[in-house]
Subunit: 272 residues, 2 copies
Amino acid sequence: MEKRSLFFISDGTGITAETLGHSLLSQFENLQCDSTTLPYIDSLEKVQHAAHLITQAYEKDGQKPLVFATLVNKDIHARLLQAPCVLFDFFTPFIHRLEDELGMHSSPTAGRGHGVHNTHVYNARIAAINHTLSTDDGLNTTHYDHSDVILAGVSRCGKTPTCLYLAMQFGLRASNFPFTEEVLDSGKLPESLLRNINKVYGLTIQPEFLQRIRAERRGGRYATLAQCQHELDTVERIMRQNHIPLIDTTSRSIEEIATKVVADLGLKRQVV
Amino acid sequence: MEKRSLFFISDGTGITAETLGHSLLSQFENLQCDSTTLPYIDSLEKVQHAAHLITQAYEKDGQKPLVFATLVNKDIHARLLQAPCVLFDFFTPFIHRLEDELGMHSSPTAGRGHGVHNTHVYNARIAAINHTLSTDDGLNTTHYDHSDVILAGVSRCGKTPTCLYLAMQFGLRASNFPFTEEVLDSGKLPESLLRNINKVYGLTIQPEFLQRIRAERRGGRYATLAQCQHELDTVERIMRQNHIPLIDTTSRSIEEIATKVVADLGLKRQVV
């Protein structure tokens, strides 16, 4: 199968171009792409260089590269149109419709999509990340009173990455509570968790999958299928008894788990 | 100023709809929005509920809400079109052009944009997050040999959030090295850092801004302007001596810092 050259070009970080571009391409199976992201293309000199790279890829491939672009400046955009490429412009068509609809003119400013709009929001995000790190892996459970959400589950079921994602992308103070042997044996949740039970969301995972993840990390009883099965059964029972919602993380991405938790608990995004 | 109701509707996480939607809206100054994200709208029953919420907002506001949608299923999309809204469809126009251009049919599968495509990529991402956490704040500097990038700077200049973002969104093993009093006094970088000097990127920040951040955290000499200024001067001198690139984080978002570091060091994204 041929490989198609792909460029994400933006006057800002390129995150928006990459996000929509990858979403669209994920609808095509078995498509092989060789992708290049060119952020901060905010001058004619830089777009000239981008056009040069596109031309090189065109000459090498014998077909026009696909270019996904979010460019605010009309001159830069026009220069890109001269390059031998198939250009997908993610901004212009929507901006014009939005202007009509809102009865406002847009104020074209490059790179505003992922800039710092608001110091208050920025600080909230950093505070969420700090809170999440300080309550990772069962640390400082007394801080749960200040958490927005507490993910509970056995070791290696995806709690930490999901909490970090919630803090980073949603600005939520996400804590995580691991079911240690002690908690599993007693079958009881600590007072700090019970007091905040409406913030708790359970993560579970298929035992075979958990076993594989644990075996890559370290061996021993911890990584046996029997132990994984036992821990998961116990946790799921405790969750049911406490009416804690539960999600199976086995074939879900961090984004999917986080989005589901936010939707189910009715949490409000603190950053955009 | 009136508030406009806004909906992000997706059959997946809604991340793509939110990302492009917010990018577009950031081009309009002083626009007040009341936004709702409805992820996992993947059945006629669910889109019925979404249409109901849109109708409620329409009746309350007296004007049609703006809806940003990424929906793969044609029937769900058609139902949404019947609701009293201004619909921005981020998928259909581009998918058709892509089909023509690639000479392939898309295989419409809801929610594929942010799913788990590839276990190998997923594991690389988790491994990057683990590496980043294990080398946060000067821990385990011997692991720098396995890092993709090492951010160096004074305390509270943005190293940890940027490292976590690099790990989460790029799958890069990002470590961070804080300039402790000891390092500042000696003016010398540790051997583990010198050995990996081509991976090092320096963060700096305006002293007044640093002072404000530190004062919110704890007081004492640590948070005086003189101390902040002294630390920053010393660090910038050490960076120059070692030819380490430097970025001022003062008015930059985590996304902007991360993207600049990746671009300048020519790092390759490990996850999409």
